[in-house]
């Protein structure tokens, strides 16, 4: 029983991180229909910015955090400006290739600039604390990430459904041209979307690095892929779905290893297997709208 509860806690903890990254992923997809393969790399940038802020510039933690999130948001906007905007009228697949290109670029530039050797990410003592309930141990980061995920989810839902910018985002996601006719500033709105998505990735990257305290230029690859799976699982483009998808995925991975340890080598395959099975029954993900073409 203890083991089960411990695994649940582990799942919740991993799931909350997946969820946070998946939200950013899904947001960009929702607006631009672009699978932003570079999202994992943006996530990596967030962690590195904080690292340099704290270690090199000796900034206090809270300030580094803010600076890192802002810098990452700017980095996200820049990738959009230079790699995606010129392709706005191009076939969708070309933008995807561009995204892959950005991802390659950031990975390799990361290796050149930050070096390929992992860096240790020292966390403030508060995050070293483990809460112990009987035999169950839960890290303080778990609570932090769940709370932060929820806060950001609320914030995002507010922006998207309660503000004018959100209205513009939703309009752009269905029909860019008509949105222009409504005097929506398309480029600016997309920039904002990227900024928010990247800021979320930065927060995800920082929390991730707090929990798994090493950072390296390719650290975003697997979390990025998992977050992508989570986003699709929940119905890509759906913010709430991404959250649910993240938790399901985290939980599923942990429970597989927890209950069938002999299958632990299949953990990554299991994530995809769940995704495929769900898609076969719900082709648009769990919360995805069935956007069947009207005939």
């Amino acid at each position: 029983m203890d083991i089960f509860l411990q695994n649940l806690a582990n799942g919740l903890s991993l799931g909350s991180l997946y969820a946070l990254i998946a939200i950013g992923y899904t947001m960009v997809y929702g607006i631009l229909r672009l699978i932003n393969f570079a999202h994992g790399e943006i996530f990596m940038l967030g962690a590195y910015f904080l690292y340099y802020g704290v270690l090199i510039f000796n900034l206090p933690w809270w300030l580094s955090f803010i600076v890192a999130v802002i810098l990452t948001a700017i980095a996200g906007m820049l990738t959009e400006r230079f790699a995606y905007r010129p392709l706005r009228k191009a076939p969708r697949i070309s933008i995807l290739i561009s995204a892959i290109g950005v991802s390659f670029f950031l990975q390799n530039a990361g290796i050149v600039v930050f070096s390929g050797v992992p860096k240790s990410f020292h966390r403030p003592a508060i995050f070293d604390h483990m809460f112990i309930f009987g035999n169950i141990r839960i890290s303080s980061i778990t609570f932090a990430s769940i709370v932060i995920s929820l806060i950001f989810l609320m914030g995002l839902l507010f922006i998207v459904y309660r503000t004018k910018t959100g209205l513009a985002m939703r309009a752009i996601s269905t029909d860019i041209e008509t949105a222009r006719l409504m005097a929506v500033n398309v480029d600016q709105t997309i920039s904002i979307t990227f900024a928010i998505g990247s800021a979320l990735a930065a927060v995800g990257g920082i929390l991730w690095a707090l929990k798994y305290p090493q950072i390296f230029p390719l650290m975003g690859m697997i979390p990025g892929l998992k977050a992508f799976i989570a986003a699709v699982l929940g119905g890509i483009g759906n913010i709430f779905g991404a959250m649910i998808g993240g938790f399901i995925l985290g939980m599923a991975e942990i429970l597989l290893v927890g209950f069938m340890p002999q299958l632990s080598g299949y953990r990554d395959a299991f994530a995809f297997l769940i995704l495929i099975i769900i898609l076969l029954f719900k082709p648009d993900g769990l919360m995805g709208k069935n956007v069947q073409e009207k005939v």
Partner: protein, 373 residues
Amino acid sequence: MKKKILFFVLMGLFILSSVVVAQDVIKIGVFEPMTGPFAVGGELSMQGYRLAQMQNPTVLGKKIELVVVDNKSDKVEAANAVSRLVNHNDVVAILGSYSSGLTIPGAEVANKAKVPMVVATATNPLVTMGKEYIYRACFIDPFQGSALAKYTYNNLGIKKAAMLVDVAQDYSVGLANFYNRTYKELGGEIVSNLKYQTGDQDFSAQMTQITSTDAGALFFPGYFGDVALIATQGRELGFKGVYMGGDTLDNPKLLEIAGEHAEGVVATTFYHPDAPAATEASQIFIDEFIKEYDEEPNAVSVMTYDAYNLLISAIEKAGSTDADAIKDALASTEDFVGAGGTITIDDMGNAIRPAVVIKVVNGEFVYEATIQP
């Protein structure tokens, strides 16, 4: 159109620049993963090569030029890279590469082209097997694996152990296999044999399971970054057993990342300054390394440092850059004094050398024991 012309001109310059070569140098090729998932290995390797080159810049009266090619941590590129070194850069000999998976396709190419190669850190037995031009400075996994198993069972007296293996890494799988075999032969029991894959960073499920067993030790033959995370998460989840791993753990970064959780980690490696096998070269290496890079040396760098020097001494001994002469000189290496210890090459092309057991105590690696082959 102008853009295109500019493009071709630049292209031409690059091609030209690679053709223009200085005359009186001896070229030695290095193929290492400078990008991709193993970039870390490439970087650590280069530290050793560079340091050695600085101290030993000439051979046979000529300057040594290292031609470094990136293999992108990718098998296909590894073969391309070596092929380029052999056919395009006309190197005399080759050094590399970090992991066995990358070294093997490269070694195939080099061996076929009859260009001698010295491998620094790839510990899989298949690297040199059946290839007369390939030699290695490090010991091999069967030895290391069984050495660790013996140490666990005999020296530490632990009869039940758990394993956590990276199924996507040949290094990890190979080492685990030999450890498992020897440990069982000795009478030990593997109570939990779990897996993960390169790129995984969450090991909480595995460590929860392992913690629930009565394993007295956890053997994790992975790369130091992953292991640092496993060690951290294991302690956080209450695992109290001994951590054990292979030569990849001998890296100051492990201590940095895992911090207090690395305390008590036991690993086999090639050398330690306090080990009886340490040579006078060891201390020189350590001092110079710290001076040059401002950090503690690691096992990878010391091996590439030795691999470079081993190769240079072979060329010196051969008295020429003839491939067969170098090959023969390498094959007949006996008691070569390297920074990491004394190397003698056996008839399989592998180094016969002891393994050193080290342990983390108070945030530092301390010498524990030496295991003779």
